[in-house]
Amino acid sequence: MTIREAAEALRLRSVSSVELTTAALSRVDRLNGPLCAFITITGDAALESARQADRELAAGKDRGPLHGIPIAYKDLFLTKGVRTTGGSKLYENFVPDVDAAVVERLRDAGAVSLGKLNQHELAYGITSANPHFGAVRNPWDRERSPGGSSGGSGAAVASGMVYAAMGSDTGGSIRIPASWCGTVGLKPTYGRVSKFGTLPLGYSLDHMGPLARSVRDCAAVLNAIAGFDARDETSSTHPTVDYVPEDGCSIRGMRVGFAESFYFDGLDADVESSVRGAIARAESLGAAIVPVQTPDIAALNAIGQVILLSEASAALDQHLGDRSNFGEDVWRLLNQGRLIAATDYIQAQRLRRRMSAEFERLWNEVDCLILPATPLPAPKIGDVTVRLAGKDTNVRMAATRLVRGINVLGLPALSMPCGLSGNGMPVGLQIVGPAFAEASILNVGAALEDGGVGIPPCPIT
């Protein structure tokens, strides 16, 4: 059931929020052991919120489509009175006295929080094999990674524990787990969603966004969380719109960019055929497929790496005296960041401006790009390298190769499932658009979804 369907059932009184929440908690109770998706479960508070939601609906107070809907937060969103660990030993006992802006807005929209979700340590990695809180497992195959860093969010949504989950994306951390877990995930434009009350990783790269079961569900969450917040100095005053695509939305006449060079190099064969199939479907729905040449994405990725290495090490500098605080992979990245020269950080930020201008010109030719989200489906937990197009490739570098650059540009990107691999794992594509064109890319995603692009629900019970 999607948020939309649950919302309709709530208003028909065929189900209550308490019933939805009880069912969700029962699923968490059954599946969290094997999947390790939650770090903290706030069952009593969730049921109290659900009772409140039911009382309000009965009294005629309707907070909108998220009213009474069970959701959860990646554990880097501050939650007043509820432990917020960032998946790190550094914050294992941190109980904030404020809520993140996103938490405030979703509570105001009536959503019911079930708790806090596991993630890659400090959101600095793509496996979600957390050394302190356990490895999150992929609901489609528990031997496989859910991706990350928002791995708990992907696993919780895919396994049906929650209707939507909040994640963050600094170099692909919403889109990678969405792709590997077979959910929809939206990284909005930088500044579209407030970062107030979140644990930072890359100050100029961090984006907050939802993962959900459908494109329209992601849009419904975006409606609740988008908008200016004076407490976040990177927050944008760009006007918000209704992001939920209309029923029967169309992409007829839209110009969809097909960036074959780089984005279709070195893909797993199942990924390539699924994404090409979705592009063909877009064409059959009336979109014009326009071959385009993107700016140098390898250079864009390198810029992103220099910026992230520098910003993450600056963010965590005060903690670097004690190696025992960190898992091995995060410790290594933080030390790498200490070696980047200030001049190179500045050069990367200058190159970023130039690349952004080059990408701007691309939007004169097309309305969006449809690209693979990840070059491979979920690898086995613990795999360090994978074989792609005949070459052994580092899993982390492969997983971030197609997504990282979009964070550097701050553009909105929607990841959605578009097929299953030969071994039954989800394959994801991403739709990338101009800054603040969330409504447009969600419209494309919804039209594709309505047009049959997608996968069956995860079979986990």
């Binding site: 250079a299 810029i303 290594r332 790498q336 070696l339 980047i340 190179d344 500045i346 990367a348 190159l351």
Partner: protein, 64 residues
Amino acid sequence: MRVSGEYMSDWEAIARARGITASGKELEALLAPLQTLETVFRPAVRDLPFDLNPAVVFCPGTAE
């Protein structure tokens, strides 16, 4: 150090100067990704116009 006409960082010397005590395979695992990164990043920097501002700039009056 110059590689292919570009200035390239000596990561091992920088690591030592920053007080990183790792050695052998641990040091190699730390530095190899930086070396790879450098080969893509350094050439991209070459032709930047002098008046191109970084994407992160200070805006007076907006600080907390």
